[in-house]
């Protein structure tokens, strides 16, 4: 007790010296405080009341001039601020539990905000790390998503249009020489990439126009590699130039290494290997990069100095007729060609690079950004409540400070300094949380076929953002206690000696308001979390129309298997299938051109004999070419007719199977068996096929899409194979992963040059849900956090209310109130707060939820069941948070209360 008394006097002495702008040494402060404490104690001994004794000592302090005892005047500049920080630190250390809870909530809140923001930043805001990125623009490919090489060539020939132009296509190259594939992220690019971006190699050279020709230039096939790949593959060796690198079985010579930090024009994708477009035909003999109907490239230009994107667009448009005319795709229907000639060429700013990841994740990320901002707000409300409780305990100190002449502004400043300090510590820890969190998130974005690379280094934007939210946060939770401090009357608390009534009630109404806000925000977050979790669950448990577990997909690439005749390829694939089907542990194996949710698809417009009249666009159906046994392997139901069998051969009448969706669309649900289907308009090279069977609807491209009308034809009737890649799906008796090596060995016996990529079907389907999984995971995590924080806030306020009403409750009980009545009394208050919060939160949720409609699947944004269950969860948390203090209230001993009062 003496120590606390002494501390109080010390702070008063310091405060007093501050007011005179004098600096006292620690010894002097100690000695003067000791003196005042003695004075106070002596007065008490002499029979004074506590109030008189305190006043006597305060009078002595007030009458003192510190001019003589202080060694030097304190420099006026910065006075106070250093002192404020010291006082604030003392306060934070003095209440370690409050500080720890506040710092932890802030670290999570600010950390989550910074993590999500740094993702948004690196995905959408940060300029490419190249020369003058503001002058880059991309040729907007709205319709096809990409461009043909001839279009690029036409633009490049008109070099006066821009300061530079290049085309590229990101690509994963296989480093393995046959057998199990080992991919590296890379790109085909034209030689202009390096000059246009303005990047130079750190070792060797880049490739030039001379290298970028069909089959390679004077040095043969050349490649430029990225810094990370150089380190990983070549150990950063200085003599890497001239080394051999096998890509897709073709030997390339390394001619240069790009600098660290350079990742290419695509955000989210790091180029480890860049090879000239001219090598395409060497690597993919079935492809010619000059093809007019091969849409595969992105095109980026560097604008001339001072040229705006609109001016450059105008310049291109003036040449559009010539460019379009010279690049008309072969074999296109006339109507499409008219559209082709008309479609305007448009440039779009590309300072931040191009990114498919951006388009896909922009909305989910913004949604999560809103979620984390709400979490931070809830955390702020909680901390404000904690500080309010502490503020009440400190009213005494404040009123003495005011009595000693401190201005209200000074008090408010002191408290805001405390908030800022707390917030800054939270932000410091939060930055660590953010670093870890954002890396974790990026890792979650990557799938087996798509390695996501994002530069997450902290730049000025992230720092500014974090600093900004730190300050805003501090103001948000610091204002409530500061407001209370400003309302303290000098000496008021001394008079009351800590047994206040009126002021406590004020603090309670403010605290109640904060709790209502917390509950309302939590409702919003819990509703959002529930919507996203249900979306994910619905998708993850969707009836796919087939059974994905224990199916291993083996992608076989015959690119370098030296099979010249396409007709022979199918025979090789079929032999591979038979070899695998005979392996122990394999239940069945089937070939297919497309596998579900693989990102690939094949479709045509079709017409059916006796079918309903359809518009052209409604005639589109997706297609697949499968071997007999495919539907068994996938567990896809045969609804009517027969599946493919060995009687379906080249030369036998062409047959097809369709799914139920096809029958619904093309035949109005009639039995399709016996009808014939053919391409629309009819193609001479493709026969009409008789429908011999109907299979159940199965997911084709995306889980979210309604099952499309699908037509299956048989590999056994196919004269050739449209691509060099074919899939072998293997249903295993046990874990499919264990079969990898034996399958690879079996296929190598058939043809050792087939490149093989293994992937469990369930993994392929899981990867397609990455976005939904991440959103559900984050929303779930933050929803839970919000619930926890709101529960804590409610508990704190109720506990405080109970402790304040202890006397009243004791007296009620002494007068015969039953414990159950006391519990009711407390819970009725809680339910009022929760009820109000829930009504407000539900209202906002109903109003705002349509914004996330596109992220949902299988449920309405205003789904009543989700809303009801979220409210129930909130009510349960409220009940628990209220019941604990209520139970304590019911256990108050009336006798003890009466004795104390």
């Amino acid at each position: 007790m003496p120590d606390r008394e002494l501390r109080r006097w010390k702070s008063l002495v310091r405060e007093r010296a501050d007011r005179e702008w004098r600096e006292l040494s620690l010894d002097v402060v100690d000695e003067l405080a000791c003196h005042l404490a003695d004075l106070h104690a002596a007065a008490l001994r002499g029979g004074s009341t506590e109030r008189e004794a305190r006043q006597a000592a305060l009078d002595a302090l007030n009458a003192a001039s510190f001019l003589e005892v202080s060694k030097r005047p304190r420099a006026r500049r910065g006075v106070g601020y250093g002192h404020d920080v010291r006082i604030a630190l003392r306060q934070l250390v003095a209440t370690p539990v409050v500080t720890a809870i506040a710092v932890l909530s802030l670290a999570l809140g600010i950390g989550a905000n910074t993590a999500i923001f740094s993702l948004v930043n690196s995905l959408s805001l940060r300029a490419l790390p190249v020369k003058d990125p503001q002058r880059l623009a991309i040729l907007d490919a709205q319709d096809n998503g990409s461009w043909t090489y001839p279009i690029f060539e036409e633009l490049r020939r008109r070099s006066q249009l821009f300061d530079g132009i290049f085309a590229w296509d990101t690509q994963r190259f296989d480093l393995a020489n046959g057998g199990i594939t080992e991919f590296v992220d890379g790109a085909w690019a034209t030689a202009g990439l390096f000059d246009t971006l303005g990047v130079s190699p750190i070792v060797g050279r880049t490739f030039t126009e001379a290298d970028d020709v069909r089959g390679g230039g004077p040095d043969g096939p050349v490649a430029v590699i990225g810094y990370t790949f150089w380190q990983r593959r070549f150990g950063g060796a200085g003599d890497v130039i001239g080394k051999r690198l096998t890509l897709e079985g073709v030997p390339f010579t390394v001619v240069g290494v790009m600098p660290r930090g350079f990742f290419g024009p695509d955000v989210g994708h790091r180029l480890d290997v860049i090879v000239p477009v001219g090598m395409l035909t060497t690597v993919r003999p079935e492809r010619s990069f000059e093809q007019r109907d091969y849409w595969w490239l992105s095109i980026m230009v560097r604008l001339k100095a001072g040229q705006s994107v609109d001016q450059a667009t105008d310049a291109i448009r003036s040449l559009q007729p010539q460019i379009r005319e010279a690049t008309l795709p072969n074999r296109w229907p006339a109507a499409d060609l008219v559209e082709y000639l008309r479609a305007p060429l448009t440039l779009a700013p590309a300072a931040t690079g191009s990114s498919s990841l951006r388009q896909r994740y922009e909305r989910p990320l913004l949604t999560i950004m809103v979620v984390v901002v709400l979490v931070l707000l809830i955390a702020c409300a909680n901390i404000a409540n904690l500080l309010l409780a502490r503020a009440t305990a400190r009213r005494h100190e404040w009123s003495v400070r005011l009595a000693l002449g401190a201005s209200r502004w000074r008090l408010v400043r002191l408290l805001l300094t405390e908030s800022l300090l707390l917030s800054a510590i939270g932000a410091g820890v939060g930055l660590l949380v953010a670093r870890w969190g954002s890396q974790l998130l990026v890792a979650q974005l990557s799938t087996q076929t798509n390695t996501v690379f994002l530069d997450l280094s902290v730049d000025w934007r992230v720092l500014a953002f974090t600093t900004g939210i730190t300050v805003i946060t501090a103001v948000l939770f610091g204002v409530a206690p500061a407001y209370r401090a400003a309302g303290v009357a000098p000496m008021e608390a001394i008079k009351e000696q800590g047994r206040s009534t009126g002021a406590g009630a004020n603090r309670l109404s403010l605290a109640n308001a904060l709790v209502v806000v917390q509950v309302a925000l939590s409702v919003i977050l819990v509703v959002a979390a529930a919507l996203f979790l249900r979306t994910f669950t619905k998708l993850a448990t969707l009836d796919l129309g087939f059974e994905p577990s224990r199916v291993l997909v083996v992608k076989m690439s015959a690119e370098r298997a030296s099979i010249d005749n396409p007709a022979q390829r199918m025979a090789v694939y079929e032999r591979a299938r038979q070899a695998v089907a005979g392996l122990p542990g394999v239940q069945s194996a089937a070939l297919s051109l497309v596998t579900p949710v693989s990102g690939n698809n094949w479709g045509n417009r079709l017409e059916v004999s006796g079918g309903v009249a359809l518009t052209d666009s409604r005639r589109s159906a997706l297609r697949n070419q499968v071997s007999p046994g495919f539907f068994d392997t996938y567990g896809q139901r045969l609804v009517a007719g027969r599946a493919f069998n060995n009687t379906d051969r080249v030369g036998s009448p062409p047959v097809a199977l369709v799914n139920q969706a096809f029958a619904r669309r093309f035949l109005n649900g009639e039995n399709p068996i016996g009808h014939t289907l053919r391409r629309f308009p009819a193609q001479p090279d493709e026969p009409s096929r008789e429908i011999v069977g109907v299979v159940g609807d199965a997911v084709y491209r995306r889980l979210r899409d309604p099952v499309p009308p699908t037509v299956y034809s048989s590999t056994t009737q196919s004269a050739d194979v449209p691509t060099t890649e074919f899939n072998l799906s293997v249903r295993a008796a046990g874990s499919p992963a264990l079969l990898t090596q034996s399958i690879a060995d079996a296929i190598a016996v058939v043809n050792k040059d087939l490149a093989l990529t293994f992937r469990p079907l369930s993994d392929q389907i899981g990867a397609s849900l990455t976005q939904e999984r991440i959103v559900a995971m984050l929303a779930g995590f933050f929803g839970t956090l919000a619930l926890l924080l709101a529960g804590l806030g409610l508990y704190g306020v109720t506990s405080y209310a109970v402790s304040r009403r202890r006397n009243e409750i004791g007296i009620r009980m002494a007068l015969g109130a039953a414990p159950a009545g006391v519990v009711r009394l407390v819970l009725s208050r809680v339910s009022m707060l929760v009820g109000l919060g829930v009504v407000i939160g539900a209202g906002i949720s109903l109003w705002a939820s349509p914004v996330v409609a596109t992220l949902l699947y299988g449920l309405e944004p205003r789904d009543p069941a989700t809303l009801a269950s979220s409210i129930a969860v909130l009510a349960a948390v409220g009940a628990i948070a209220g019941w604990l203090p209520a139970r304590r209230a019911a256990r108050i001993d009336p006798a003890e209360v009466l004795r104390d009062s």
Binding site: P2, L6, D27, V28, D30, E31, L32, C34, H35, L36, A37, D38, L39, A42, A60, A63, A64, S65, F66, E68, V69
Partner: protein, 114 residues
């Protein structure tokens, strides 16, 4: 008793003498000194507590007294001041001067002191 005019002025100069005199027999802390002065003067002499400490620090700076933090059982830690040998000499000299001064006043103004 309130002093005014000349005596009030004189009092300022006496502070050092009084503090040295009270410390002459034993070390004391600041609060004790104020109490003693007030008690012995019957309340006629009081020091503002900051001025008392200002005086103590001045004397300490001149090395006439020496302060030291002492913690006694059951008490707060306090700073006790002890007179130094130099302080004793100053005290003796000052006492002598004051005595001579009073004798002079007595003779000149007919003031007698008890």
């Amino acid at each position: 008793m309130e002093f005014t005019g000349a005596i009030r002025e004189a009092k300022k100069g006496t502070a050092e003498l009084v503090v040295l005199a009270f410390l002459n027999d034993q070390p004391r802390h600041g609060y004790e000194l104020t109490q003693l002065i007030e008690e012995r003067s019957g309340g006629a002499l009081t020091f503002n507590f900051a001025s008392l400490y200002a005086t103590l620090y001045k004397l300490e700076e001149r090395k006439w007294i020496q302060g030291r933090w002492v913690e006694k059982a059951g008490q707060r830690r306090r700073r006790y001041y002890k007179i130094t040998d130099e302080g004793r000499e100053v005290l003796a000299a000052q006492r002598k001067e004051w005595r001579q001064f009073f004798e002079l006043i007595r003779d000149l103004a007919g003031v007698r002191y008890a």
